[in-house]
């Protein structure tokens, strides 16, 4: 069952790669954001709606790509017990849904969705080789989910289109739920200060 779920997500990843066009890999991010000389133009576009939000959505997509890779690689590591793996796969599915939503909005706004890096790059960047126990995996996931929730909340002020802002609120709240579940699993208390994210 686990195996078939993995295959499913691999397929959807390939689907995504096809959809967004491998030929444009690497060009997307810079092209979408534009050179500094285009700043005035960028601001004008920004007032025009979701197009001005392509840059911020590209960063969000890059973040989701990283999360997806982390869950997949950790999920395949053999470190997780079946119960924990089940939860990890649910979270992986959410992140894949986030990826689809962001990529399709970016394309609608005329951008080329940024591509994921290779698994080898993610393993190196996140030091995934150092994960030795289920506890290590859950600790890393907790940190990444907290970072993602904060990243989404902290970018809303820079968004020009209301529907993009709503999407970012949805992304942030999904990550906040992931964080809460993982933080609880680690046996950590919920922090006392008001405003856990932002």
């Amino acid at each position: 069952m686990t195996k078939s779920k993995n295959i499913e997500s691999d397929n959807s990843r390939r689907g995504f790669l096809r959809q967004s066009g491998l030929a444009v890999a690497g060009v997307g991010l810079v092209a979408a954001v534009g050179a500094p000389a285009d700043a005035a133009k960028r601001r004008r576009v920004a007032r025009g709606g979701a197009q001005g939000d392509v840059g911020v959505m590209q960063g969000a997509l890059a973040l989701e790509h990283e999360g997806i890779a982390a869950y997949k690689i950790a999920g395949a590591s053999g470190l997780l017990t079946p119960d924990v793996l089940k939860v990890a796969l649910v979270f992986l599915g959410h992140h894949e849904g986030h990826r689809e939503a962001l990529a399709s909005l970016i394309m609608k706004a005329g951008g080329n969705p940024v591509e994921p890096k290779t698994d080898a790059e993610y393993i190196k960047e996140l030091d995934l080789g150092a994960l030795k126990t289920q506890g290590d995996v859950v600790t890393l996931a907790t940190r990444l989910e907290q970072g993602a929730a904060n990243a989404y909340v902290g970018q809303i002020a820079a968004i020009s289109d209301n529907s993009t802002a709503k999407l970012f609120a949805q992304l942030a709240t999904d990550e906040a739920v992931h964080w809460a579940v993982l933080n609880g699993a680690l046996g950590n208390a919920v922090p006392t200060p008001t405003f856990l994210f932002g």
Partner: protein
């Protein structure tokens, strides 16, 4: 409490507390936690992720980490990252470098100060504030 005061007195007090805040050194330990929570989604000290790696960033030229694909906007910033400039950046990166790939803003001055103190603590000693 402010209601009973004349406006100039209240304004002066506010100005003084803002100045005091600016003069208070940041807390690098609080900053480390804040960094992990608020920046850790995209940045690490030692690897380029969504954003570039940060060890040694204070005192370094913007846009100069090898192997990271910066926006032209950040590459075009001259000089080096100072605590002051970093404070401007964290208030609104799109204002300091319009067209940058970073959009996150940190609205709390205290949080910015603590994060900057942490980044200074992981930067070369020559750029640390004298104690």
């Amino acid at each position: 409490m402010i209601r009973g005061m004349t406006l100039p007195v209240a304004a002066t007090l506010l100005a003084i507390s803002a100045a005091a805040l600016a003069a208070t050194p940041g807390n690098p330990e609080t900053g480390r936690q804040q960094y992990e929570a608020k920046c850790g989604g995209c940045h690490s000290l030692d690897s380029n992720r969504v954003g570039p790696r940060h060890r040694g960033v204070i005192g370094r030229r913007p846009g100069s980490v090898p192997g990271y694909a910066y926006s032209p906007a950040v590459k075009a910033l001259g000089g080096v990252w100072t605590p002051n400039r970093m404070d401007q950046w964290l208030q609104d990166p799109q204002k300091l470098a319009p067209g940058s790939k970073m959009y996150l803003t940190v609205s709390s001055a205290t949080t910015r100060r603590d994060i900057i103190a942490y980044l200074q603590s992981v930067s070369p000693p020559a750029t640390k504030k004298p104690r």
